[in-house]
């Protein structure tokens, strides 16, 4: 089969070199920022030009703690530490990989972090993380 549907578990956002523990969803959003112009040569039809992109990621995960010494994933406390960073420490490397597809890398800052916990038996405690890419993403092999 020449085409294939990408399963969600084959897509992963790494912050630094690690993914977030307990990931249930990762979203990428690319929005074009445009500039409108018109000259007399345009004969009254406005022109749109893309000047840059606003690129954001959102990661949703179960609120998890990693007690293993290898600590190969970012657990809840790691993510909070990243979210509370300021200045140059707040800039993180990101890598967005899709198995069999292109990996995109760049730098980002964490613009939001939230937790949700409930006494309801059926509810899992969850975290949500928002990142904004600084500049653009670069495609790599």
């Amino acid at each position: 089969m020449a085409t294939s549907v990408v399963e969600g578990y084959n897509v992963a956002l790494s912050i630094g070199t690690k993914t977030v523990l307990g990931r249930t969803q990762e979203d990428l959003s690319i929005s074009a920022v445009t500039k409108t112009s018109i000259t007399k040569d345009d004969a009254g039809v406005q022109q749109e030009k893309v000047v840059r992109h606003d690129i954001t990621f959102r990661v949703a995960a179960l609120m998890s703690l990693d007690s293993e010494t290898t600590h190969s994933k970012l657990d809840r406390d790691d993510v909070i530490a990243l979210a509370l960073a300021t200045g140059s420490s707040a800039v993180v490397a990101v890598s967005y990989a899709c198995t069999g597809g292109t990996t995109y890398t760049g730098s980002a800052i964490i613009t939001g972090y939230s937790e949700s916990t409930s006494a309801d038996l059926d509810s899992d405690s969850t975290i949500s993380l928002d990142l904004k890419v600084i500049g653009t993403l670069t495609a790599s092999a």
């Binding site: 969600g8 578990y9 992963a12 993914t19 307990g22 990931r23 249930t24 179960l62 038996l121 899992d124």
Partner: protein
């Protein structure tokens, strides 16, 4: 992670009354039969929990015996201390069909390891 809610219930109820999945393998009363619907929940790393609604029916020719056995099951399930399994009582009912009493117990069971 392997689902083992039925095994856990069977282990907890061992010794109280003969305990069977779906269908009794005996005609001797009392006995208990359990049925359950299990749902798996996953992160991108794999299954992290199983949730079941487990229904246990205790059968006996004698109502008091059915009550006693059901009470004993409630006691062991409510007293579960294994943190890998959250067992919560949901409801209880009783019925008689052709001189056989059954007490039905319904539980919410969550397995996290």
């Amino acid at each position: 992670m392997t689902e083992s809610i039925g095994i856990k219930l069977t282990t907890l109820c061992d010794g109280i009354v003969p305990f069977y999945l779906s269908e009794a393998e005996t005609k001797v009363y009392p006995y208990a039969v359990y049925n359950q619907t299990v749902q798996a929940f996953s992160t991108k790393e794999g299954v992290y929990k199983y949730v079941a609604e487990s229904t246990i029916r205790v059968y006996s020719k004698d109502f008091d015996e059915a009550q006693t056995k059901a009470d004993a099951i409630v006691t062991v399930l409510d007293g579960n201390t294994d943190t890998n399994y959250l067992i919560k009582f949901l409801r209880r009912s009783k019925e008689c069909d052709e001189d056989v009493w059954y007490i039905e117990l319904v539980y919410y069971v969550k397995q996290t390891n």
